[in-house]
């Protein structure tokens, strides 16, 4: 049941308890308890909205940064990565296979903000060999949601 609940929440984290209950075949109380225990266990870390900021006129600056790191003898990439993860500017952080090691998504109010984070903080961390920053110009899709609005398409209301 927990796996089913997680699937539904991943699709829509604001789905009502009643709807989840109906769809997984449980009572709302059981669903509530299951979600609570998933939160306690730390499987669910939080709930977040997916925004299309371009409609809002908010101008946050985002960058994807590829980082090369010297792994440490005791603990590999974890120490550097966990350190980088503490910066609030860093919204996402992954260890990646291939030509570089860590991939970061960084958010700031301006280009300056992000640039100074990279030069003053990220580059100076022990173990960071090099960085390569790409600023995000336009968002087409996030977390499975497409940003473009398709034309309204009306289906028949009654058909055989």
């Amino acid at each position: 049941m927990k796996a089913k609940i997680l699937n539904l929440l991943a699709e829509n984290a604001r789905m009502s308890l009643a709807e989840i209950a109906g769809r997984v075949g449980a009572t709302p109380e059981e669903v509530k308890a299951a979600i609570h225990s998933l939160e306690e266990e730390g499987v669910i870390r939080g709930y977040k909205v997916i925004l299309n900021e371009s409609d809002l006129g908010v101008s946050k600056v985002r960058a994807l940064i590829e980082v090369k790191v010297t792994p440490r003898r005791d603990g590999g990439f974890d120490q550097v990565a966990e350190r980088i993860a503490r910066y609030p500017e860093v919204t996402d952080l992954y260890l990646i296979s291939g030509g570089f090691d860590l991939l970061l998504m960084v958010e700031g109010d301006s280009l300056q903000d992000v640039a100074s984070f990279v030069s003053a903080k990220l580059s100076t961390i022990d173990g960071v060999i090099s960085t390569s920053t790409g600023f995000m110009l336009k968002k087409y899709k996030e977390s499975g949601r497409i940003m473009q609005n398709d034309e309204e398409y009306e289906r028949l209301k009654v058909c055989p």
Binding site: E19, G22, R23, G25, R155, L156, K157, V158
Partner: protein, 399 residues
């Protein structure tokens, strides 16, 4: 000067053929017109998936146009699609057909049904079919100058066909038996023992069986058994299937028929003159559906299953007795407890609470006392519809 003898009586001769004039307008059509005059309606009245066709299939259709594949195909359909269809049918239904001459690609099951009737019936031949049923069945028979003969299916049999009731309707003129399990509008399936008996009856009376298995992937319990796979049935069964429901492709208009060569050859003649071939783009997209669409299909099926449980629980809770349908995406609750007939129920519900359901009588006389609620609708809408219907039920009690 020539004088038309009819001039004095009327402006012109009767333009429309008698048998077409006699066709009833589909009950759904009337209801549709009513719904369309209203806003803020939650519709449980559709008969199609609420999903958009999976992207890989759409993309293949687009690519087909990009490549410039815009000509006719062979009358039977592209060889590649026929091969893939026969592979799919063998794998899932355990009947093998030769793609060269035992399979034809059609404009949906609708066309397959039409050309099958035209190919098989002599005027006056009787066609047995179960009711409540898909609205086109009796009309298709009439348009081919046959005589439709309904066999009732009952709530207490979970809307499966009772072999003895079937037997009772057979006459020397009976030629064809038309089956549809899982069933629109009841969601019923056939238990295998009953299906075996039906097969025996078909053999005994030398009937052709047309089996419309368009909902067979959308099965939530048990395993689907096609009557074509039962002993002695392949040679007298025409298997109809399509992409509309399982792959959410209603608007593409694509389906197929598999059967003995004699029947496919005859259908091919009608198809060749009336249709030429199914649309090339749709055929190429359908091929992609069979090759790479099963995962998406399973995902959609699981989603319907969740919503089935939601709606059936809800209907029973508000006092509309409803069986748990094993297939398709329709719930078919009884509304007898309200004392209304199905048309009154649907119209009053629509006017009072703006929820559209289809009166059961639209699917045949024995559908009276029931309404069809399609659950291929967002779960949140289903819940809202159930709330509104619950309110409606309360208001009836207070009257």
């Amino acid at each position: 000067m020539m004088k038309n003898m009819n001039d004095s009586k009327c402006a012109h001769r009767e333009f429309v053929a008698e048998h077409v004039k006699q066709l009833p307008k589909s009950g759904i059509r009337r209801f549709f017109d009513l719904v369309n005059t209203m806003d803020d309606v939650i519709s449980l009245g559709v008969g199609e998936p609420d999903f958009v066709t999976p992207w890989t299939i759409r993309e293949t259709g687009i690519f087909s146009l990009e490549k410039g594949h815009t000509s006719y195909t062979s009358n039977l359909g592209t060889p590649a699609l026929r091969r893939e269809v026969c592979r799919y049918v063998e794998k899932n239904y355990h009947v093998s057909y030769n793609p060269d001459n035992e399979c034809i690609i059609t404009i949906g099951v609708s066309e397959a049904l039409d050309i099958a009737m035209r190919a098989l019936l002599n005027p006056g031949d009787e066609v047995l079919y179960t009711e409540p049923c898909f609205v086109s069945y009796p009309a298709e028979v009439r348009m081919a100058h046959g005589v439709p003969v309904p066999v009732e299916t009952r709530f207490e049999d979970e809307f499966a066909l009772d072999p003895e009731m079937l037997r009772a309707k057979i006459t020397p003129k009976t030629r064809v038996l038309l089956l549809n399990f899982p069933c629109n509008p009841t969601g019923a399936v056939m238990p295998v023992d009953k299906l075996r008996k039906v097969a025996e009856i078909a053999i005994e009376h030398d009937l052709v069986v047309i089996t419309d298995e368009i909902y067979s992937e959308l099965l939530y319990e048990g395993e689907h058994v096609s009557i074509a796979s039962l002993p002695g049935m392949r040679e007298r069964t025409l298997f109809l299937h399509g992409f509309s429901k399982a792959f959410a492709m209603t608007g593409w208009r694509i389906g197929y028929a598999c059967g003995p060569r004699e029947i496919i050859d005859a259908m091919m003649k009608v198809h060749q003159y009336a249709i030429m071939c199914a649309s090339t783009m749709a055929q190429e997209a359908a091929l992609e559906a069979l090759r790479n669409g099963e995962k998406e299909m399973a995902r959609m099926r699981d989603s319907y299953c969740e919503r089935r449980n939601l709606i059936v629980d809800g209907l029973n809770r508000i006092g509309l007795e409803c069986l748990l349908p094993k297939g398709a995406f329709y719930a078919f609750p009884s509304i007898r407890s309200t004392g209304l007939d199905s048309t009154e129920f649907a119209e009053q519900l629509l006017k009072a609470e703006r929820v559209a359901v289809v009166p059961g009588v639209a699917f045949g006389a024995c559908g009276e006392g029931f309404v069809r609620c399609c659950y291929a609708t967002a779960a949140s809408e289903i819940m809202e519809a159930l709330d509104r219907m619950g309110r409606f039920m309360e208001s009836l009690k207070q009257q």
